[in-house]
Amino acid sequence: MPLNPSILIWMALAGAPVVIHLLNRRRYRVINWGAMQFLEQSVAKSSRRLLIEQLLILMLRTLLIAFIVYAMARPYLPGAMPVMPAARPKRNVVVLLDRSMSMRYDENRVANLAQGKEAVARIIGELQKGDSLNIVLAGGRPQPLLKEPVVDIEQFMDLLREVEPMGDEANMTEAIKEALAQLEKSYNPLREIYIITDRQAFGWQAKTETRWADTVESLERGALKPTLHVLQVGQAEYENAAVTGITPAHSSVGIYQPARFDVRITNFGKERREKVNVRFTTGDSREKTTQVDLASGGNSVSVSFEHQFDTPGSQLVRVSIDPDALPADDEMVASVDVYDAIPVLLIDGTGSSDAQTPGALELALRPRDSENPDFKSLLAVQVCRIDTMPSLSTSKFHLVVMHDVARVPDRQVAELERFVFSGGGLLVMPGRNSDPASFNRYLYRDGDGLLPSKLEQVPALKDPVRALAQAFTHPALAQFRDPKNGDFTLIEVYKYFRYVDPRDGKSRVLAQLGNSDPLFIEKTFGQGRVILSAVPVDKGWTNLQKRSFFLPLMQCTAYYLAGSVQPPRNVLLGSPLSLFLPPESRSRTVQVIDPEENEHEVKVAEKDGRRVATFTDTQKPGTYRMLDGDGKQTFYVVRPPEQESNIKPLNPDEIAWVEKTLGATFAKDWDDLRVRAFSKTRELREFWQLLIIAAILVLLLETLLTGRFAARSQRIEAARA
C-alpha cells in the first residue's frame, strides 16, 4: 500500500486510452465503397501488424498514466534498494497525550500528567531533523496542539508546559482517529503514534467492538499502517474515592422548607477507607459534616443532608470528602433552583354542592398550619373551572391539576398542549363528572395527545382493590419505597378508570393496583410531563384522601411535575446549558461566565414560543454562571462522567485485545519504548522518482513509435507522388 493511497482512485484513468479507443471504434462513419478488393487485401495484410501496433500504443499510454498515478501515490518498498541512494527515512510522529481527569492523580507528588509531559519531551528528544511532529491532547474532544504536524519540533516544548488536565474522559477512540488525521497531513513515510496514558480502562473502552469499529477502519484505511506504542505513566494500582452524586429529594426546592439532598460517595480503590469526612455546604449556611466508612471495589455509600434555604433563586450545594491522590473528584457541586412559590392552577370540575372533596385536594396541595399562621405553602394554588381557565404559560404556572373535569373544550386542549410541550407539568385526575369519550377524543388523540392512555371506566367494584406496595424508583414516589413514609397497600379503590399501558416508549406506569391495572401512569410530552391518576380525590372512588401520606404524595407529585419547567442545571461535559427568560425580559443577550472566569455572550432566541439562551461550549468541567439582562444569576454545573473517577487500568485481557485490534505495543517503561521505537530504524524507501523516469521513457517511446507508424504511411504516399 503506498503512502498516499487515496490517489490510487485515479488509477482508473489508466483505462482511458482503451476507453477512448473503444469509443472511437463505436463512433465510426459509414462510407459506401467500391474499391473493396484493395481494402480487403490491405486489412488482411496489415491486420496483424495493426493489432500489434494498436496494442503497443495502447499499452504504452496505459502504462504512462499508471506510472504517473502510482508515482503520485508515493509507493515504497521495505528495506533499501540498490538503485536508490540510502537515506534515513523521516518520521511522521503524533504523540497522544492523555489529559483526562484521571491524569491529575498524583500519589507521589508528581501528577500523572507531569510524568506524561516528561515522556513526551523524551520522545521529542529522540526525533531528528526533518521528522515531523504533532501532539494530540486526549480528553473530551481531542485537540491537536498545532493545526498540522511541523518539522520545527522545538516549539512544542513551550506549548507542552501550558497543557492542563481536562475534567473529561480520555476517549481514546476519538483521540486515535484525530492522531490518524494528523498523520495524513505529513508526507514523512515512517508513521508512528505514541500514546502516553495512565491506561485507565474507562478511557479505552476496550472490547467494545462497536465503539472501536470506526477507528479500526480508519487505521486499516491509512496508507502505511502506523506503528502504535503505548507508554504508561503513573502506577499500576490506584486508590481513589469520589463524590459521585448529589440528588435533591424533590425536583423543586422551596424556601423555608427542609430540602433533603442524597449524596453518593464511591470508593474505587482496593483498600477500605474508614471514617471519611463528608462535608456539605451551601452558599448561605454553615458546613454540615458526617463520617462514612467506604467499602472497596467501587462500592457506594449514600448519605443525606437536610438544608433549609432562606433565599429563593439559583443556589449551589457543595459536598466534599477528605482529599486523596485525585482531588478533582473529591468535591462535587450541584446547582439547585430554590423557589419562594411554585404557581399551580387547579381546574376543578367537582360541583360546588360537594364542597368537601375539592377542598381535600386543594388542602393537600396548599396545606395550612393552624398553629403557625405565618406558614406559607410552597405551592401557590389558584382554583378555577375549565370554562374560566386563564391563559397558560410556564412563567405563570409550573403545574396544572385537572380534577374531575367533565370535558375539555378545543381551545383549552390546544392551550394545555402548548403549556406541557414547553415544560409545564400536568396532573390529570378524571372523576365521576368526566366524560371518557371526550377525554379519549381530545386529550388522548390515539396516542398523539397529552394523556398517556385511553380512559375506560370500570363499574363500581364489589370488593375494593388495594394498591401495590412497590420498590418505587420514580422520583415522584421514591419517598414511598419505605412503607414508613406511606404504605400504598392501605389505599383502597372502589371504582377507577382502567388504563392500558400503550408501551409506546413515551409512557411509564408509576404505581399499580393489586389487579395489575395502573394507578398512576406518566407520559413525557415535549419538555413537560403528564401524570394520569386512575382515581380522583373522591370518597366514593377511593380512600386515598383519608390516608396520612395523601398530603406528601400530592406534594411530591406536584414538585416532580413542576420540576420540568426549567432546563437541567447539572449536566455532563459537552451538554448545552439553557436559560429560559421570562416573556417580560427585554434582554437580547445573556452573559456566560465559565469556570475559568472567562466571559461569553449568548444571544437570546425564540424557541417553542419561549425566549431561550443556549450555551454549548461546555468542554470544561466546573460551575458556569448565566446572567440575564436584569442581573439575575443562574448556576450551572458541568460534570465529568462519574466513571472517570474509576482509575482502574486496563487488565491483561484488555491489553491483549487492544494490542491485537490496533496492532499496538504496550511498552513496560521508557527504556523499553526507546529500544522498541528508536534504537532500530525501520528501512523504507520510496521509489516514485523511478516511476517518473519510467513514465518519461514510456512517453518518449510512445512518441517515437507513433511517429514511426505515421511516417511509414507518409513514405508510401511520397513514393506514390
Partner: protein, 300 residues
C-alpha cells in the same frame, strides 16, 4: 484568353454535372477541347478524298461533283478511300462501384457517361462510326456502331438512360463482346476495372486476338487514389450488400495505396505488353486528357 479560360472552367466535370442534356455536354466537351488545340481535326484525317471516277448509272446523283461537271461537262463521282474508316465501340461500365462519388467531385459513372458522350460526338463528327455498349455483370445495352450523325442521338439517349447496376464481371463481358463484335474496330473501355487482374487481362487479350484496337480509360475517384480517411470508418461494399469492413483508415492507408498502385502498375504493364492504350483518369481531371488520349490512339 479570357473566353477560353472561362470555357475550360466550364468544362470541368463538376460543372458539367449541372447540365442536363448529354448532347450539350458532349458538344461542349469536344468543341472546348478543339478550341484548346487551336487546330481543326477535320483537316488532317477526316474525309480522305481519293479520286474522281466517271459516273455510271446506279451511282447516287448526290455524289456527282457539279463543279467538275461545270468545268469539264462530264459527270464525275467523288471517290472516298472509305466512307468510314473507324468503328468505335464504347464500353461503359455501369456496375455499382462506379457510383462512388467523393465530396467536390462527380460520380465515376457520370464522368464515364460524359466521356462516352464526348467520344461518340467526336467520332461521329469525324465521320467515324460509333457504338455504345453498357454493362454491369452482363451487357445491358448494345448499340452497334454507325457513322450516321443521327446515330448520336440514339447513343446519347442510351447514355442518359444508363443506370447503376450490379457488381462487375469484366472478364465475362470482355470475352462475350470479343465474340460478338465481328468487325475489327476500336474498343474504348470506360471503367474503374475493379476486378481480378488476370481475368481482365484475359478478356483484353481476347479483344487483341480479334485484331481490335483497345483503349482503356480507368476512371477513379480522388478518394480511391489518395484514401484520405482518418477516423474509424465502416466501409460498405457497393457491389455486395452486407459485406462490411470496420477499420481505422489511416493505419491501413499505406497498405491500401500499395495494393492499389500495385494493381494499376500490373494493369499498365499488361496493357503495354498487349499494345493496349491505358489511361488513368480521376473524376476531377477535365476531359481533355481523355480526348487527347483518344486522338493519339486514332492518329497512331
Amino acid at each position: 484568353m479570357p473566353e477560353t479560360s472561362k470555357l475550360s472552367e466550364y468544362l470541368k466535370p463538376e460543372n458539367l454535372q449541372k447540365l442536363a442534356r448529354m448532347e450539350i455536354i458532349a458538344r461542349l466537351v469536344v468543341e472546348g477541347f478543339i478550341t484548346g488545340m487551336h487546330k481543326s481535326p477535320h483537316r488532317g484525317f477526316s474525309v480522305e478524298f481519293a479520286e474522281h471516277r466517271q459516273y455510271v448509272p446506279g451511282d447516287e446523283i448526290r455524289h456527282i461533283n457539279w463543279k467538275a461537271f461545270a468545268r469539264s461537262d462530264r459527270y464525275y463521282i467523288k471517290q472516298y478511300e472509305e466512307e468510314t474508316n473507324l468503328r468505335g465501340y464504347i464500353l461503359l461500365d455501369c456496375s455499382a462501384s462506379m457510383s462512388y462519388q467523393s465530396n467536390g467531385s462527380v460520380s465515376k459513372l457520370f464522368y464515364g457517361k460524359c466521356l462516352a458522350a464526348a467520344l461518340s460526338y467526336l467520332m461521329l463528327q469525324q465521320q467515324d462510326s460509333a457504338g455504345l455498349i453498357t454493362f454491369d455483370s452482363a451487357v445491358k445495352t448494345y448499340l452497334p456502331p454507325r457513322a450516321n450523325p443521327t446515330h448520336l442521338k440514339a447513343i446519347l439517349h442510351q447514355i442518359d438512360e444508363a443506370k447503376i447496376g450490379k457488381e462487375t464481371s469484366l472478364s465475362n463481358i470482355f470475352h462475350d463482346l470479343a465474340e460478338r463484335i465481328k468487325k475489327r474496330g476500336l474498343i474504348i473501355i470506360i471503367s474503374d476495372l475493379f476486378d481480378n487482374i488476370k481475368d481482365i487481362m484475359s478478356g483484353l487479350t481476347h479483344f487483341r486476338h480479334k485484331k481490335h484496337e483497345v483503349l482503356i480509360f480507368q476512371v477513379l475517384d480522388p478518394d480511391e487514389l489518395t484514401f484520405p480517411f482518418r477516423s474509424w470508418t465502416m466501409f460498405n461494399n457497393l457491389e455486395n450488400d452486407g459485406h462490411k469492413l470496420l477499420t481505422e483508415p489511416q493505419r491501413i492507408r499505406a497498405a491500401y495505396l500499395r495494393s492499389l498502385n500495385g494493381f494499376v502498375a500490373e494493369l499498365r504493364r499488361g496493357c503495354g505488353q498487349k499494345r493496349i492504350d491505358f489511361e488513368q483518369l480521376n473524376t476531377r481531371v477535365p476531359f481533355d486528357t481523355a480526348l487527347a488520349a483518344y486522338l493519339a490512339n486514332r492518329m497512331s
